[in-house]
Symmetry: D2
Subunit: 110 residues, 4 copies
């Protein structure tokens, strides 16, 4: 992976973590938390795997490819769930960050 | 914390993670790994607490202040150790990122 | 710390992680998730710090004491919140595991 | 997965974390750290994925299967590396814990 692509991927992972954790927190302030249960849980899953993947990538872990694959999968799932609730600005922004991150992970593997 | 300060802190934490993990990996390629044992271990401690702190900050965790305090402490220690080995470019850059991050964490608490 | 105390503390941390993550998951299945918002968020905070602390303890990290202090604090807060919802068996069990773990962390520091 | 199998798997993951972090720390005290560079790095990778997997398992994450697969893979690699250094008691014990954990993860998926 070229240096510039590496830097962009780290930036994209970092933004995805931020949007997921923000969405996670904001969901608990909404009126109907029950309807956001899947969203909250996926936000956490996604922020966690993005953080683990960013660290693995930066240390050139032997398992970077595996982390990127799993990260792409979880980002994709989280994006699909958040998209369903795009009347909430935090879900809308989170979905965009997740899809962008899923894409960047897949490109990095290819 | 103002929005802009928050964004800058997340950026600084992200750069510190990257430099620490990079330094961690690069130390293992050096001739005398024994002399870098403390550096390697602190690089890991530092990358890990920065990653945890960035997530806590983004979700407005009740424990953000505590994480920032511990993060500042570990960044400071890691910076001091890396500074000793600044003949290695990765250690030099890591020290700078760590001190900058320790500072940013302390300012965010104040 | 004596070897036996160390082993018991790791066991206690491990049980606390399990109860917190189980409670986290079970809360989302309850009828009124809104009322469990704080519980869910603390369950996550607690499971995460316990996992980080167990690893730090096992590698004799320089920051074990700091991690144990923060772990005790978060376990205590999580236990207090879960205790309020002890009509739910998962909250009741989680509160017990959290208080036990807070105690064990404090004893290990003393 | 039956309750008893679940409990045993969590126990096995917990023991693997402990042995990996202990081996990680002990390797830095050995005379020839250079020769243990791969071992140290895999110890960290393994402890980290085991901790993430134990939490995912306890909260019945949608991605438990994926985490177990990656965990089995990393445990296997770490076990193979540690096995090469079984003149060190910490490496020998770590290899055993890793192979046992890889096995338990694979059985849980099957």
């Amino acid at each position: 992976m070229a240096h510039e692509q590496h830097q962009q991927l780290l930036q994209t992972l970092s933004e995805c973590i931020e949007e997921c954790e923000h969405c996670y927190h904001a969901c608990f302030q909404e009126e109907h938390v029950n309807m956001l249960a899947d969203c909250i849980q996926l936000d956490r899953e996604c922020a966690d795997i993005c953080a683990v993947t960013a660290k693995a990538l930066s240390r050139e872990s032997h398992f970077t490819k595996e982390y990127l694959e799993l990260c792409a999968k979880i980002c994709e799932e989280c994006g699909k769930e958040c998209e369903k609730h795009d009347q909430h600005d935090h879900c809308k922004r989170c979905a965009q960050a997740c899809f962008k991150c899923a894409d960047a992970c897949r490109k990095a593997i290819a």
